[in-house]
């Protein structure tokens, strides 16, 4: 089988090139699609890959799609896999978080999810 040389080349090349990949959302606090009893002070986004902070961001909108003023997303310098969006005091309602991420190897991903605040 001549497939073997190609596979050998692939695995060899894998070992010599530092590989990174697309950054996916691993989980978030508040959780995706969750309902929280009290308004959170921040949204924490945990990714599967390290991000480029200068080119990664998150925004918040209310149930009508109107943007809510937040600070810029911040990163822990020791952990570029976590993005934090500090929030103002949120009244009860439905909110949508939208994020854009640029992983450290320049792959772009984006996503959004909602959460509800009860009171």
């Amino acid at each position: 089988m001549k497939l073997v040389p190609a596979f050998a080349v692939l695995t060899t090349a894998l070992s010599v090139e530092a590989a990174h990949a697309h950054a996916f959302l691993d989980h978030a606090v508040p959780a995706v699609g969750s309902t929280v009893a009290t308004a959170p002070a921040q949204v924490q986004l945990f990714f599967t890959q390290g991000l480029e902070p200068a080119f990664s961001s998150a925004t918040l909108a209310d149930a009508n799609g109107q943007p809510i003023a937040t600070g810029a997303a911040v990163f822990d310098p020791q952990n570029k896999m976590e993005m934090i969006l500090n929030l103002p005091k949120l009244p009860p309602g439905h909110y949508k978080v939208s994020w854009h991420a640029l992983s450290v190897d320049t792959h772009r991903t984006e996503g959004s999810f909602s959460f509800d605040v009860q009171q």
Binding site: M1, A6, F7, T12, L14, A19, V32, T106
Partner: protein, 306 residues
């Protein structure tokens, strides 16, 4: 055999080649990630490789059993234009006759992904597939002694744009393909080579989309990375005495998608009497070369990304 040797060398050369940086994503439209489907063509140009796809086919109408070992590799030329080469080694056990082995017909495909709508998770791709004459064992395995040119149109649509009132439907996505065969010979060894229309669909339910965009239901790897799907593919002859004859399969299965590769497995169920009898199955290992080689082979040869 010659083509496989050539491709192995081509891969080796390509791996050694280093290109200026520019990022590219496989299978993404907006927030939607579409996996590389197995039976049907997916509507993306990408840097990716399936190695191998191991298939145990259902028994043919004549009682024969075929096992295939296939490889394919796709390379982006420009960000939205790419090529794919594929071939397979076949092991055919005819009923009451000796086993025959060898390579099947060598295929190549040039594609242009000309439409993307991120908000609606929609994409369209057109292209042309060419199955090359005399690139496999013609008499023993039935490989083509004629070239077939097949213009194609593929589409992909995710349903993440459905309203929040239908959350459980938002992880759904559909991809599909249509093509038309123009054989360069009207018959081979007395058998007609009709024009065929080919059509296939993949119906996917993305658990990663559910977890990341709709509702965190607590799935953890590997389940949070699985995409159950059903693929169907048919080919209907249109003329030369074969008009209306349809072959096709229905293939329920699952794809697990990781950071650098995906693994897929599907059952194969013949959809028509002409297709065969019983059941078959396949497994595939598929590499995301744009993630494995982000600074070299995994980038388009020409052009830059927006």
């Amino acid at each position: 055999m010659q083509s496989m040797r050539f491709r192995a060398h081509a891969v080796a050369l390509a791996m050694a080649w280093l290109a200026p940086a520019a990022a590219l994503a496989h299978g993404f439209v907006g927030e939607r990630f579409f996996p590389a489907t197995i039976l049907t063509d997916d509507p993306f140009v990408a840097d990716e490789m399936s190695l191998p796809t191991f298939t145990v086919n259902p028994k043919g109408p004549d009682g024969s059993r075929e096992i295939d070992l296939e490889a394919d590799i796709s390379k982006t030329l420009w960000p939205d234009i790419g090529i794919t080469f594929s071939d397979q080694w076949e092991h055919l056990r005819p009923k009451g006759a000796p086993v025959a082995t060898g390579f099947g017909t060598f295929d190549s495909e040039l594609d242009w992904q000309f439409f993307k709508n991120a908000a609606h998770e929609a994409t369209l791709m057109t292209g042309v597939n060419v199955s090359w004459a005399h690139t496999g064992r013609v008499q023993a395995l039935g490989a083509d002694d004629f070239t077939t040119v097949s213009p194609l149109l593929d589409f992909g649509k995710g349903f993440g744009d459905l309203p929040d009132s239908m959350p459980w439907l938002r992880p759904f996505a559909v991809t599909g393909n249509f093509s038309y065969d123009f054989p360069t010979k009207t018959e081979s060894a007395g058998n007609p080579n009709p024009n065929n229309v080919n059509y296939g669909f993949a119906f996917e339910y993305s658990l990663p989309y559910l977890e990341q965009n709709v509702k965190d239901i607590g799935l953890r790897p590997p389940f949070s990375q699985m995409i159950p799907l059903v693929e169907v593919s048919y080919s209907t002859a249109l003329n030369r005495g074969q008009g209306g004859q349809t072959i096709g399969t229905v293939q329920p299965g699952i794809i697990w998608s990781g950071q650098y590769f995906q693994i897929g497995a599907e059952a194969i169920i013949p959809a028509t009497r002409q297709t065969g009898n019983g059941y078959g199955g396949l497994v595939q290992l598929h590499f995301y070369l744009d993630d494995i080689f982000p600074n070299s082979f995994g980038r388009p040869l020409f052009g830059s990304l927006p």
